[in-house]
Every structure is written in structure tokens, then in C-alpha cells.
């Protein structure tokens, strides 16, 4: 939940109890864990804590980050979206196939990008429609569309990859602006937008209300169905945006892009303190969550830990973070 400014004039006891509850927030604990991890990893390799490496990691985390932002909204409503990785793959393929000068369409790049984003929006909208209008649980719906969208991507791609994009297309994924990778700016903008929307707008408040008590939200006259469809549609859009950045970063298009992305995104959101049962969570937590995951991946790799080992470590950190959080929540009587 958001922190609110209260009238000044608090007694010292109130201040110290507020300080205590601030320090016990999952976001703060996570931040401390992250800093510890960074310190630890910096010992493992002297290449880790360099501006160059960290900025480069920023490039790599943008796609997960974007998807995790919209995933935060979904999980706060008590839902889940497993299909984001497949939407990313589908959108990437659509982008390539629409642009491919040797292919059937050969559209200008701008049009291809637009179609890519549109496909993401439609894919997310379809998820929302099935969940809201047909009442199929989000887990089942997006598990089905996870297979469906990936299947479409593979069908459209015919196992071919599209490459050879014009130079200017790579600005987004490989270029920089003011010394910072271009896509990090995109991520930053969306971090700010989503954080403000979630904490300050009617829509954000409704998101929490739906997650805590959907029936109560409906009885309060909130257009719950419309809001939920909007949230899943936004998730599709973010996956499409991530697809665009992904293709631009790796200079090629393949149908298996983004597989497994949903797990990283969900892990980041949950690590960031958003309850998997819905009702509570924050964007700032998610941001720390995806940064921590990326830092661990990179730092461990640089320290010579194998990929398998890295996954084990990330899983362990996730479980530890949740256990610590549960423990603290119970101690402070909020659990």
C-alpha cells in the first residue's frame, strides 16, 4: 500500500514506530538484501561493479522489467499472466515477418512495429475477455494462451529467422542516449508511469480494491470487468514493447524468443513484495525485484557460477525473501 503523508506534529514515539514499520517493509528489506548481494558479488569478480557492466545489465533487464511492471497490476488484482513470454515471441515474429523485404508483406519498418504492438494489445485483450466475460480463471486462461500464442508464433515463422534490419532500427536495443542504453530510458519512463498510476489514480486504487475483495469492489459500483480487461490488455502491450526492444537488441527474430520470460517477471514481482494472493504490492518493490534478479544472474556468471547454479541461487533467494517477509508480517501482526 502507498505511504501517505500525515499531518505533522507526531510525537517521537509515533515517529519511531513509523520508522520501524518503514524499515520492516518488504521493499526496504529487499533493498538491503540487494545491497548485500552487490557487495558479495563485487568480491567475486572485479568486472562486476563497473559502470560499463551495470549499464550493460540494464539492457538485459529491460524486457523482463517492462513485463514485470504490468504483471504487478495483474498480480495485485489476484490474477496471473503466464502468456507474456509467448506474446513476446508472437509479436517478435510478427514484426519480422511484416517487415521482411523478401517476404509476402514487406511493409515499412514503422508499420511493422505498429502491427507488432497491435498484435500484443489484441493478444492481451483476448486474455482479458476470456477471463472476465467467460469467467475462466486467469491461470487456466493464460496457460492455454501461452501454448496458443507460442504455437501461432511458430506457425507464422515456419522455423525461419528474420535478420538484416536497417541500422537505425538498432538504436532502441543497442544504442545509447546521454550515455545510458536507450531501452533503459523507456523502462524508466514506464516505471514512473506505472508507479504513479498505481499509487495515485482511481484506476490504481481500484486495482487494490479488486485484489482485496472483488465482490466488494463491484458492489461499490466500480467497473471491475472493464478494469481487468484493461490490465490484461496493458500486459499484452508491454510484452509487445518488450518484443520490439528484444528484436532490436539481438538483431534477429526467432519464434522461441521470450520463452520462460513469464517466470522471471512473476519472480521479480513476488520478490518485490506483491502478494501472490492479490491486494497488496508496489511498483518500487517490483523494480528492486527485477534489478536484484538481473544482478544475481550477472554477478554469479562473472564469478564463474554456471547457469544451472545461478538458477538455484535465484530460487533460493526468492524463497528466503518470502520467508523473511512472512516472518516479519507475522511478528508485526499484519499477516
Amino acid at each position: 500500500m502507498t505511504t501517505t503523508t500525515r499531518p505533522s506534529g507526531d510525537t517521537p514515539e509515533q515517529m519511531s514506530s513509523r520508522l520501524r514499520s518503514f524499515l520492516l517493509r518488504q521493499e526496504v528489506i529487499l533493498l538491503i538484501i540487494s545491497l548485500l548481494a552487490v557487495m558479495f558479488l563485487a568480491f567475486g569478480s572485479d568486472r562486476f561493479l563497473t559502470a560499463n557492466n551495470l549499464l550493460n545489465q540494464g539492457r538485459l533487464l529491460t524486457e523482463i522489467g517492462l513485463v514485470a511492471l504490468s504483471m504487478t497490476f495483474i498480480i495485485i488484482t489476484g490474477g496471473i499472466d503466464l502468456s507474456v513470454g509467448s506474446i513476446l515471441g508472437l509479436c517478435a515474429i510478427v514484426l519480422g515477418v511484416m517487415w521482411d523485404p523478401k517476404g509476402a508483406f514487406a511493409f515499412p519498418l514503422e508499420v511493422a512495429v505498429l502491427i507488432c504492438l497491435l498484435v500484443g494489445i489484441v493478444a492481451g485483450f483476448v486474455n482479458g475477455l476470456i477471463i472476465v466475460r467467460l469467467g475462466v480463471p486467469p491461470l487456466i486462461t493464460t496457460l492455454a494462451t501461452l501454448a496458443l500464442y507460442r504455437g501461432l508464433a511458430e506457425g507464422i515463422s515456419q522455423a525461419r529467422s528474420v535478420r538484416g534490419y536497417p541500422e537505425e532500427f538498432y538504436v532502441l536495443g543497442q544504442g545509447e542516449f546521454l550515455g545510458v542504453p536507450t531501452q533503459l530510458w523507456v523502462l524508466l519512463i514506464f516505471c514512473i508511469i506505472t508507479a504513479v498510476v498505481l499509487s495515485r489514480t482511481v484506476f490504481g486504487r481500484a486495482t487494490y480494491a479488486i485484489g482485496n475483495n472483488e465482490l466488494g469492489a463491484r458492489f461499490s459500483g466500480l467497473p471491475v470487468g472493464r478494469y481487468k480487461i484493461l490490465i490484461y490488455t496493458f500486459s499484452g502491450f508491454m510484452a509487445a514493447l518488450a518484443a520490439w526492444i528484444f528484436v532490436s537488441r539481438v538483431s534477429t527474430t526467432r519464434s522461441d524468443m521470450g520463452s520462460g520470460l513469464e517466470l522471471d517477471a512473476i519472480a521479480a514481482v513476488v520478490l518485490g513484495g506483491t502478494s501472490i494472493f492479490g491486494g497488496s504490492g508496489s511498483i518500487i518493490g517490483t523494480i528492486i525485484g527485477f534489478i536484484l534478479i538481473q544482478l544475481l544472474k550477472n554477478g554469479l556468471a562473472l564469478s564463474g557460477v554456471t547457469t544451472d547454479g545461478t538458477i538455484v541461487v535465484i530460487g533460493t533467494v526468492l524463497i528466503l525473501a518470502i520467508l523473511v517477509n512472512n516472518f516479519i508480517q507475522r511478528r508485526s501482526g499484519n499477516g
Binding site: 482511481v202 487494490y208 480494491a209 469492489a217 461499490s220 466500480l222
Partner: protein, 508 residues
């Protein structure tokens, strides 16, 4: 109950503290076999804490508990159960997808040897469940039926049978009649009397004083966690009990002030949504309180939810101030000035995990927003204003609503709906499960609102409330209005007769 019989349960000088709240301080409670002992107090007086200590859910910080004169200490509900203490909570704890018999014998089902393995003995389970129910004079229930398909009253009977299957000698009933219809209440009382003759001691918690006089022998009153007094019921009057509970005298439980009745505000014509709203027509005027009486399942809440657009009508029309309006969603209803305080504040009326401020503003977020953003200053102002106006007792508007008492929660629900400036206010069981003091405040508020020209529909299963508050009483049965009485004409007998003729009983 002969007083010379030794007590079955003795609790002495019990204290219990939760974080900042002293829930109980130095409370004593003595229970004899074969007595029905009412435990009274406003919400927050410590009744729930006391029964949770008896049933092993909580442990007392200090004090003693003795059963049959032997000191005991329960670490968990199982240990209490083993000593013959059973609790029937407000929220029934049955498994809806299992049969009556399975629910009764959950955890201790009869088994038989099948070679080396022991398997469930279904025949024995069904026949023993049948016997148990028959011993409670319940002959109209199929033990093979799924509990989810039973009425609330029947589910409660299953709960009682379950407690007896564990050889309960102390039965704690926490507001057993809160969700029951008049007929079910009578059947419950029969069972209570039957158990009494068998020497079962019953702790009876209820907000309805009439029930205390009807079935209870002794009464113990708690207030703010303190023991006030324990007396034979026959030695008290209703006014005594109320003043013991609230620490002040309340002259009139239903402070009805007749308001000037004006033009029709809400007119409903031939409204239909099958199966429980059938061709209903109704007019409510400004300043008028219309009471809807009926058994549970008669279609009162369903009608309210059709008018409110939660389950929109299939046919018929709704007029506000003479103009036909389309109500397809609760949002539409709100825009046309219809507000609905739902039956269940926990799941429908509030978002319990959220703050008082956030709950009050939930209905009017759009109008509090400048552009897309919630104006937090006007939000706080609105919340402060409603908390004051409703007299919500809360440390601050930042309090989590779920931590307030039932009465205060209900005031928040009413407040959030008054924030929409409605013309028509539908209140569904507005005082269910709330304490006497809060109840009187809600009633006074209703009179005030009517005085300001609001048209009010009140749905209530408590007849004295319906008769006390309404200018007009409409009786529903099977999704239709079957009788209408003016305030002067309406009597308990007439209304009950209209509610129950044809079916006579609601046994399912």
C-alpha cells in the same frame, strides 16, 4: 436448573491482552449442566475472546479454568473438544461438497476392518448420523445430501449434530440466530430445550434480547472486557440488560421519528428477473421507510440487487422522480441516485483489508479525482467528515476497516453510500450482528435520513426492527409481494402469517 448441581465449567479471573488492547480483565464465568447461559455485551465487550479461551483457540494470560472441578489448560481447540467443549461459530464451518453424514463425522468417522486395512464404514456412518439427527427430533433431513444444498437453518442443525457426535457437554453458540428465519429460530429453540433436558450446558451469545428471555436461564454481561454481573434471567428486565451492556439507559430501541412523506422517488414497475424477482411493483416516497419482510430465500435481497443493477432486470422498468432510468450496472444505479448497503458487510459492503479512508471514498473516487488523480486532500476531508457524521469509533481514518467492530464497520458502509448523495437508500439487514448501542445509532440515522427526504427501503429479518422502523411493511414470498401493511396495521402476527402461509415451514 437446580443450583446444587456442581458447575461443569468454572472460569476465574481470566485476563487476556492482544497487543494494545486489553480484551478481558478479571472476568469470571460459571456454567452449570443443563443451563442455557446467555453471554451478553456490545461488540468488543470481550464475548468472542472469552469463548475462544473456553474453546482452546486462545490461551488466557492469567486466571483459571476448571472442568468438573479439575483445573485444565487447553493448548488448542482439539484438547478442548476432547474435554467435551464444542463451538458453533457465526461462520459455519462445514464442507459444502460433502454429505451431511460426512460432515457430522469429519475426523472421527466410523471405520471397519477390511482385511489388514481399516476403511470407512459408510453404512454405519449414515445410520449413526440418522440416529443423531433423530435424537434431535430432526426427521426431515437426508443424511446423504450435500451440505451445500441445505438452508442455513439446516446447516446449523448439522453443526449441532456434529458437536453432539463428539459427546459435547458444553455447547457454545455464537449468534446462532443471526442468519436464521423466524421458523428456523423456533426449531433451534426446540433443539436447545431438548439438549438442556439432557444436561448439556449451553453458552448462548445473541444480540436479540427477546431470545435471551425465550430460552436462557442465566445471563452474564460483559462490558469493555470487564465482568459486570451474572443473574437469573427471570430477575432482570430488558431495560436492565441494555443498561448493563451499554452502561446507560436506552429508552427506545427504535427511535422512529415520522418524517413528512413527499412525492414518489423510486417507482418500480413489473420488474422481473427469474427466479426470485417476479413481476414486482413498488413505490417509495421521499421521507418514507419501507420495510421488506420475508423469510430467507423469499427474494428480498434479490429484488434489491435487481434495482441496484448488480443483477440487472430482464424486464420491467425503474423510475426515479417519475423518469424512466436504465439500470444495467451498479454504476448506473449510483448515477441515478440509488445506493445499496448490502447484506454482508465483510464480503460485499467493504474491502476489509483497506483503510477507513479508502473504503469511504471507493464509491466516489471519480468525483474526488482531478483528472486521473485522486485528490488526497478532498479524500481525507470526505473520510473525516463521514467518520464524524456517522460517529464511527476509529483511532484514525487510516485504520484498517477489518479491525473495527461490526457496528463501526456498518457505519463506514452507510457513510460510503451517503457520500454518493443518494435519493434512494436500500439497506439490507442494516443491523445484523451489531451491538445494541450501534444498532440504536443506525436506527436514529435512518430516521434522520428519512427526515431529509431520502426514500429508504429496509430489508430485515428481525421483525421488531421492521415493525419499529417502517412507515409501510411489504411482505415477500417466492419473489413476489404477498401483503402490504401500513405502520398502524402491521403486527407481528399478521406479518409472520403472510411470510409463512402456503409453506408454513422452511425445512429443506
Amino acid at each position: 436448573m437446580p443450583p446444587e448441581q456442581p458447575p461443569i465449567l468454572e472460569m476465574g479471573h481470566i485476563s487476556k491482552r492482544f497487543a494494545a488492547t486489553q480484551a478481558l480483565s478479571d472476568v469470571s464465568f460459571v456454567l452449570h449442566p443443563g443451563e442455557v447461559h446467555a453471554l451478553l455485551g456490545e461488540n468488543g465487550a470481550g464475548k468472542s475472546t472469552l469463548i475462544k479461551i473456553i474453546s482452546g483457540v486462545h490461551k488466557a494470560d492469567s486466571g483459571s479454568i476448571a472442568i468438573d472441578g479439575q483445573p485444565v489448560s487447553f493448548n488448542n481447540p482439539r484438547e478442548a473438544q476432547a474435554r467435551g467443549i464444542a463451538t458453533i461459530y457465526q461462520e459455519l464451518s462445514l464442507y459444502p461438497d460433502l454429505t451431511v453424514a460426512e460432515n457430522i463425522f469429519m475426523g472421527h468417522a466410523p471405520r471397519r476392518k477390511f482385511g489388514p486395512v481399516s476403511v470407512l464404514d459408510w453404512d454405519a456412518m449414515f445410520s449413526r448420523a440418522q440416529e443423531l439427527l433423530e435424537s434431535l427430533n430432526i426427521t426431515d433431513m437426508d443424511v446423504r445430501r450435500k451440505v451445500g444444498t441445505l438452508t442455513v437453518g439446516n446447516r446449523q442443525r448439522v453443526e449441532i449434530a456434529k458437536a453432539l457426535s463428539l459427546n459435547a457437554r458444553v455447547l457454545i453458540m455464537d449468534e446462532p440466530t443471526a442468519a436464521l428465519t423466524e421458523a428456523d429460530v423456533q426449531r433451534l429453540f426446540e433443539i436447545v430445550r431438548l439438549l438442556k433436558t439432557r444436561g448439556v450446558a449451553i453458552v448462548y451469545i445473541s444480540h436479540r434480547l427477546a431470545e435471551v428471555y425465550e430460552v436462557c436461564d442465566r445471563v452474564t454481561v460483559l462490558r469493555d472486557g470487564h465482568y459486570i454481573d451474572s443473574k437469573p434471567v427471570s430477575a432482570t428486565t430488558e431495560a436492565d440488560l441494555v443498561s448493563m451492556m451499554v452502561g446507560r439507559t436506552i429508552d427506545n430501541l427504535f427511535p422512529k421519528i415520522t418524517a413528512k412523506i413527499g412525492q414518489p422517488v423510486l417507482e418500480v414497475r413489473n420488474l422481473t428477473r427469474k427466479p426470485l424477482t417476479r413481476d414486482v411493483s413498488l413505490t417509495v416516497r421521499a421521507g418514507e421507510i419501507v420495510g421488506l419482510a420475508g423469510l430467507v430465500g423469499s427474494g428480498r435481497s434479490e429484488l434489491a440487487q435487481v434495482i441496484f443493477g448488480f443483477t440487472p432486470a430482464e424486464s420491467g422498468e425503474i423510475r426515479i422522480d417519475g423518469k424512466v432510468v436504465k439500470v444495467r450496472t451498479p454504476g448506473d444505479a449510483m448515477r441515478h441516485g440509488i445506493a445499496y448497503v448490502p447484506e454482508d458487510r465483510g464480503t460485499q459492503g467493504l474491502v476489509r483489508q483497506m483503510r477507513v479512508r479508502e473504503n469511504v471514498s471507493l464509491t466516489v473516487l471519480r468525483s474526488l479525482a482531478s483528472g486521473l488523480f485522486i485528490n488526497s486532500q478532498s479524500e481525507r476531508q470526505l473520510a473525516e467528515e463521514k467518520v464524524k457524521e456517522m460517529g464511527v469509533k476509529t483511532p484514525s481514518i487510516e485504520q484498517i476497516v477489518g479491525k473495527l467492530s461490526g457496528g463501526n464497520q456498518q457505519k463506514v458502509v452507510v457513510g460510503k453510500w451517503l457520500a454518493t448523495h443518494p435519493r434512494v437508500l436500500i439497506m439490507d439487514e442494516p443491523t445484523r450482528g451489531i451491538d445494541v448501542g450501534a444498532k440504536a445509532e443506525i436506527h436514529r440515522l435512518m430516521s434522520e435520513l428519512a427526515g431529509q427526504g431520502l426514500a429508504i427501503i429496509m430489508i430485515s429479518s428481525e421483525l421488531p426492527e421492521v415493525l419499529g422502523m417502517s412507515d409501510r411493511v411489504l411482505v415477500m414470498r417466492g419473489g413476489q409481494f404477498v401483503a402490504e401493511y401500513s405502520r398502524e396495521e402491521a403486527t407481528q402476527e399478521k406479518v409472520v402469517t403472510a411470510m409463512m402461509t402456503e409453506h408454513g415451514s422452511t425445512a429443506a
